[in-house]
């Protein structure tokens, strides 16, 4: 199985599109951090004006942790789309490219091949989230330094640097589970069609509908909300709640992993039954 997964990674990383996610993060996050380093003074003054009568500020709140937290808040909807670049192509791309004609005629079962592709997709997802963590938390703390992290949730919570650090690690782990659902959904679409664009469009469409159900406050959506996996996409934020609501987190993670499992099973079944005609 290791050899099959290795094959998938070699094939994936021979394509330029696989690097787009890393390139986007590589460009975007330093820009954001640069923005914090330039505009951090204003932000600090705004915070002091707003909360100066309640807190005594020593040092600065604008640090690598704050930059990472804010960045995660506005990127958690967009990062999933970067995952689809590989997940959408890894099965369908070979159908479109005609390479199944040389790949699937060998004495290896389709089940093992599709599982290797799925694991490679998950590994890629892990690589993206780790790279995101390195470029936000790693580079952020080097560039802007460490310090306390202020989080607004039922009031203001201040975490020490040590406390903030492990909460970020937890937050990234939860984000990884979020991304697994998107990767699995796109992978499922990839097994259904023979082109690399369809799965991306399909996944984006489902995401848009899901995010609408999650975020638009209409009574009709209330009943649907628990069933939409996008409802649990902000689960990473619960790592910054005090106390951490483990019950909610575990049930949310179980729902996300359940979705991933269903999407993956559909992909495996479809791929095993598929006639290779391209």
């Amino acid at each position: 199985m290791t050899a099959l997964i290795y094959n998938e990674l070699i094939k994936a990383f021979s394509k330029y599109r696989t690097y787009i996610s890393f390139a986007a993060i590589l460009v975007l996050l330093p820009l954001v951090l640069w923005g914090f380093s330039v505009g951090g003074g204003h932000m600090q003054r705004d915070i002091e004006q707003q909360f100066g009568d309640q807190f005594l500020f020593v040092g600065t709140l604008v640090n690598g942790f704050m930059a990472t937290y804010i960045t995660m808040n506005f990127l958690w909807i967009h990062i999933p789309f970067l995952i689809t670049l590989l997940a959408g192509d890894i099965v369908a791309g070979e159908g479109a490219g005609g390479t199944y004609r040389i790949y699937l005629i060998r004495p290896v079962s389709r089940l093992r091949i599709i599982l290797a592709k799925l694991i490679a997709t998950y590994l890629y997802t892990l690589m993206v989230i780790v790279f995101f963590a390195l470029m936000s938390l790693g580079l952020g703390t080097i560039w802007l330094g460490q310090g306390d992290l202020a989080v607004v949730h039922d009031g203001i919570i201040l975490y020490s640097a040590a406390d903030a650090f492990w909460r970020f690690l937890l937050g990234f782990a939860f984000s990884f589970v979020n991304l697994l659902v998107v990767a699995s959904l796109c992978f499922m679409f990839s097994a259904l069609v023979n082109n690399g664009i369809g799965p991306i469009i399909g996944t984006m469409s489902i995401m848009f509908v899901g995010l609408a159900i999650t975020n638009i406050p209409i009574d009709f959506f209330d009943a649907l909300r628990p069933w939409s996996f996008t409802t649990y996409f902000n689960i990473w934020q619960q790592a910054f709640h005090d106390p951490i609501p483990w019950g909610e987190i575990i049930s949310g993670l179980a729902i996300l992993l359940g979705h991933s499992l269903v999407f993956a099973i559909i992909a495996v079944v479809v791929f095993n039954r598929k006639d290779i005609l391209t």
């Binding site: 094959n7 070699i10 699937l104 005629i105 060998r106 004495p107 290896v108």
Partner: protein, 303 residues
């Protein structure tokens, strides 16, 4: 012993019945030509043999293992390529073969170098495949097919995109593999002249059904009549004698050559009549080809 056997194989796509109740038996050591016009069901059959397409009914066995039930065992000693094979274009030929070799349980670097030499791609082995000509890709197709030293080679249109020199090289390569590596070769082709030169056995399918199967010699002798080229002088006088003697019109006339369909038994009488009429008979050459047979068969003219 039959290396490949199919029984009652059928496959439809929507309302189109691509393969209908197809039974084949490919003897060990043969070079088996699989012929048919476009859309006859050749590629679908080959895809079913290789497990790419699932048959609706029927069974396939390769080297005694059922493709339906024991696919991996059945394909363990099979090498194949299907129509103008595609590769991972951003990777080199060597890396492509390494990737495919891992599916065969790991192939040594020496074996990869060996197959690259066999197909004449050593000098370009580390170039990206996207820079390859179609002929080079076709040769790489053969390289990946023989990578695992298979006992059975299944080739779908192996010469379809090659120039004449490439076709000749491919023919020599296939014959060499069959002889030296003792492979059974099952190949489909449109180039009937090539099939005739290479194959020991032939099956013809049309509209998904098997029309004929047997050795090349058996099939060519089947109709009783073959095409003879008779070179004579003078031509006009010979034409009238031949037409009268055989009660048929020539299929082709050019220069001092007349091509005519006749039974072997009728030819001595024709020569006697020509010489008696002082027509010089320069040569009598049997010219019946698989192409003639195939065209007659698929046009429904035989029998």
């Amino acid at each position: 012993m039959n290396v490949i056997e199919t029984s009652g194989l059928s496959k439809s796509f929507g309302n189109i019945r691509s393969v209908i109740d197809l039974s084949l038996a490919v003897p060990a050591g043969s070079i088996y030509g699989f012929l048919g016009p476009n859309g006859a069901g050749k590629s679908t059959t080959i895809r079913m043999l290789l497990g790419l397409v699932k048959p609706e009914t029927g069974t396939i066995s390769i080297l005694g293992n059922s493709v339906n039930r024991l696919r991996n065992q059945a394909l363990n000693e099979v090498g194949a390529f299907i129509e103008d094979p595609d590769f991972y274009a951003n990777l080199s030929a060597r890396t492509n073969l390494e990737i495919l070799g891992r599916l065969n349980g790991g192939i040594s670097a020496e074996r990869i170098a060996q197959v690259l030499t066999t197909v004449g791609l050593t000098a370009r082995a580390d170039d990206r495949v996207k820079a390859y000509s179609r002929g080079m890709r076709q040769r790489l197709g053969i390289a990946q097919a023989i990578l695992g030293q298979p006992r059975v080679l299944i080739l779908d249109e192996p010469t379809s995109t090659l120039d004449p020199a490439g076709i000749r090289d491919m023919r020599h390569l296939i014959l060499r593999l069959a002889r030296e590596e003792n492979m059974t070769v099952f190949l489909s082709s449109h180039i009937l002249h090539e099939v005739e030169q290479m194959c020991t056995h032939v099956a013809v399918i049309d509209h998904g059904r098997l029309i004929r199967a047997g050795t090349v010699a058996e099939l060519l002798g089947e109709s009783g009549k073959i095409i003879f080229e008779i070179r004579v002088r003078p031509l006009e006088k010979a034409l009238s004698i031949i037409s009268a003697e055989l009660d048929t019109r020539p299929t082709d006339v050019s220069g001092d050559s007349i091509k005519v369909a006749a039974s072997r038994e009728a030819i001595p009488g024709v020569i006697r009549r020509l010489t008696a009429a002082r027509v010089a008979v320069l040569a009598v050459i049997p010219r019946t080809s698989l192409e003639d047979y195939f065209l007659a068969l698929t046009a429904g003219l035989t029998e």
